[in-house]
Amino acid sequence: MKPIYQIIFLLLCISTQAQTAIVSGSVMSGEESIPFATVLVKGSNLGTSTNKDGNYNFKTPSGTITLIVSSQGFRSVEKQITVSQGENKKVDFKLIEDILGLDEVVVSATRNRVERKNTPVIVSSIKPRLLNATQSLTVADGLNYAPGVRVETNCQNCGFTQVRLNGLDGGYTQILLNSRSVFSSLLGVYGLEQIPTNIIDRVEVVRSGGSALFGSNAIAGTINIITKDPVLNTWEIGSNLAVIDGDAWDRNVTFNTSNVADDLNSGITLYGTYRNRQSYDANNDGFTEIVELRNTTVGAKAFVKPNDRSRISVNLNAIREYRRGGDRLELAPQFTDITEELDHDTFIGGADYEISNKDNTNKFQLYTSASYTNRDSYYGGLGGARTRQDSITANNAFGTTKDLAWINGAQFTKHLKNNDVFTTGAEYNISNTEDIIPGYNRLIDQSVNSLGVYAQYEWKPSEKFTALFGTRLDHIAVDGKYTIGGISREADINQTAISPRLTLSYQLSKEIKLRGGYARGFRAPQAFNEDLHISSVGGEQQFVILSDNLNAEFSNAFTWSFNYSKTINLLQVDLLLETFFTSLQDPFTIVSTGATLANGSILEEVRNGSDASVFGSNFELGISPNPKWRFQLGGTLQRTEYDEPQILFESDGTPGENDIIIEDFVRVPNFYGYLNATWIPSEKFNIDLTGTYTGKMIVPLVVSDTGFLSLNEVDPFFDLNLKLEKHIDFNDNFMITLSGGVNNLFNSYQDDFDTGAGRDSDYVYGPNLPRTFFVGIKFGKLH
């Protein structure tokens, strides 16, 4: 049985070129020898591996050659040597252990699959493990656990959530589903609460505009929701039951099953969710703080590989979501004081085709995706009074919305011989929104067509340095009609803009990677998600309309980051420090113009505000001493600043009221962050402790019928969640996971909600749940 080493040796030295020198030596890591390390002559197929004692010995050509030594788990080392004919040279190597846990593959940074540690821009990835640990039922719940991201509910009547990335509100972040921008403006309003977490493989967050190729409106960044790609045949059914503050029940049922052909050339995943959440009233005024929600989602994702080099995939999703908030939810909406009732019927579908050449150096992709939403809405109510006019208005507050987003694109990627990568592509997007509420004479009829062409070159002149140059050329045509009451606005905009991007990364040492980048972005004037949302104040509705002659908004974003990763035996440490500076020119700013509508409704106008800048630092520290323990702490320290004082409320001259002027952004804390700690003592049991901190911030509250504001400084929140999980494996085909715990353990929750029919429904901030106990069960063939 001795020949075992010879076999290996034979296998590795299959080369018959002129070999005229002999190189030998040892490969060590510290005091320890490394057996079976590979020793190669760079640029050739000559090589050997070290024996059991870490020694090697092989023939090489004479002259100047570079030896590369690698071994699994160690960083490879190169050494240039010169050997003369017949020489017997001794070359020893010292290897250093490699960083583990960073070998994930991500797509958001360059739009091609790249190992996470090698991406030129920082990609934060939120995995199902964390979504599970935080008891996140939808994407909206789990996003807080990446640096710079804060998700907040912004309406007590409808539960409208917004992602705030690096302090910029929802409209500045591009949300993608499997790298496609199917989230239209309308879906952006409630969509994050409509994507269940059981279909998610990971959520990739890229801050700042480094990921230019996804779109020029990704000024704050992109959030890319990637759904699962199965290999095994699995199925699972799960259910969760939660009780919000001992008062309102939230229950859901989820399922998913995957079947992949034995040859892996085709497969399908089917999934579905049903959720029913009762409304919750925190201050017993009879008006909801958390809205009633019923959501049913079903979907399927299938793929087929006609041959080894091509793949076709299709996906179909249907979402039916009903939500209602306000008071007396048991009555028809027109008999209540305030009701916001929304019934969404959304269809999302898409198809992708990709083909590569034989050696995988060229890849071509063709894709189309569409989402279509049909929505019935009711934004209204009697508003506290019982006059004839109130009743007529309340009876006419029903509306309908139709919304289409259709994306078509092609992309070509070429991997060049020198490791450089060239990517180019084009995308044509159509987005049509029609929102009609006849009772208010409200109309949004907007069509946005955009054509984008992009090219990107990833230049890797050395192992350590990477530069990513990219440019995107967008032509956007907006054709919009906006009416509310007697006010009418139109938009007919044709805008072409170039958005160049540059990212540099440098591996300073084995542990330290430096990155820097610049990105230009722009947004053409149009109704974004927030502008489609209607809130209520003083018993009347508050509408947003675009002002005349809006200019496009431009941004310049700079980032620098420092990433330290080190692995010592089982210990893994990862530290990220990131600084960002984003300046906005003519930012779209919502200004309250007071009660200017005939029926007393408050009108807010989107205007080009004063130039502003957002700057600060994100940090994230991850430590895992061994696979049983994981700790992560992240946060953001930031400032926002208008160059000139910005008006937020324009007084109509009512005595005692004056213009409200701000110098920094509202609803942006100077400090916010998160933590998560996991203890996995065995495969059968684990405990997760997760939490978020929201620092002090300014939140505007409407205090009079004219829309006059009070700027309230609100206290910080610390929202801590605890979850315990028990796994029972009956056999390979049936497993059960039981879980239980509490969200917002310390009940750190807003305590100054506005009350009654005249309340300002937008005055809601901080953690989105009071103390909530939950239990869950999941069973099936889980893995």
């Binding site: 020949p3 075992i4 590795l12 057996p35 591996s49 583990l100 034995d262 892996l264």
Partner: protein, 161 residues
């Protein structure tokens, strides 16, 4: 020592009888220790499958190719089939040498010396799945580092002479 050998020889002749009955239902996987004894008695081709708990493609092969009746019968008749967890913590005596897992306590996924020795490649990291086929003289005739469906698996085990 002699007694031990006799036991093994006896076992070797006795075992096949008891196993033939279930030959078509599953592969007669053996360990490296058993392999040494078996080889010393009767040289035969060897099929080695390295797997790990996290390797989903290994699991898929377990469910597909290794459940295929043709694969099972071919492996049971023409090969000694060895299955080994690449992250095993066992000390294994084989061919007069002792093999251990040197990476325990140093790596998150510690790989045992035997898979490192047999399934390491020139300029690539160690990866799973890894299937090694050796001839009667215990010389490697083929190595596979990818998912093999039943068809490809059959081809692989029928191909090697």
């Amino acid at each position: 020592m002699i007694l031990k050998k006799i036991t093994y020889i006896l076992l070797f002749y006795l075992l096949p009888q008891s196993i033939t009955a279930q030959q078509n239902s599953s592969i007669n996987w053996i360990t490296f220790q058993q392999l040494e004894d078996s080889l010393s008695v009767k040289p035969k081709k060897v099929f080695i499958d390295f797997y790990a708990d996290w390797c989903i493609y290994c699991k898929k092969m377990e469910k597909v190719a290794f459940k295929n009746p043709k694969v099972i019968s071919k492996l049971n008749t023409s090969y000694y089939a060895v299955k080994m967890n690449a992250e095993s913590t066992d000390t294994i005596f084989f061919g007069g040498d002792t093999f251990i897992n040197k990476q325990i306590g140093k790596k998150r996924n510690p790989t045992h010396d035997i898979p490192l020795l047999l399934a390491s490649r020139n300029n690539k990291d160690f990866s799973l799945p890894a299937i090694i086929i050796l001839d009667e003289k215990f010389k490697i005739s083929a190595r596979y580092f990818e998912y093999l469906d039943s068809k490809k698996m059959l081809k692989a085990i029928n191909q090697s002479k």
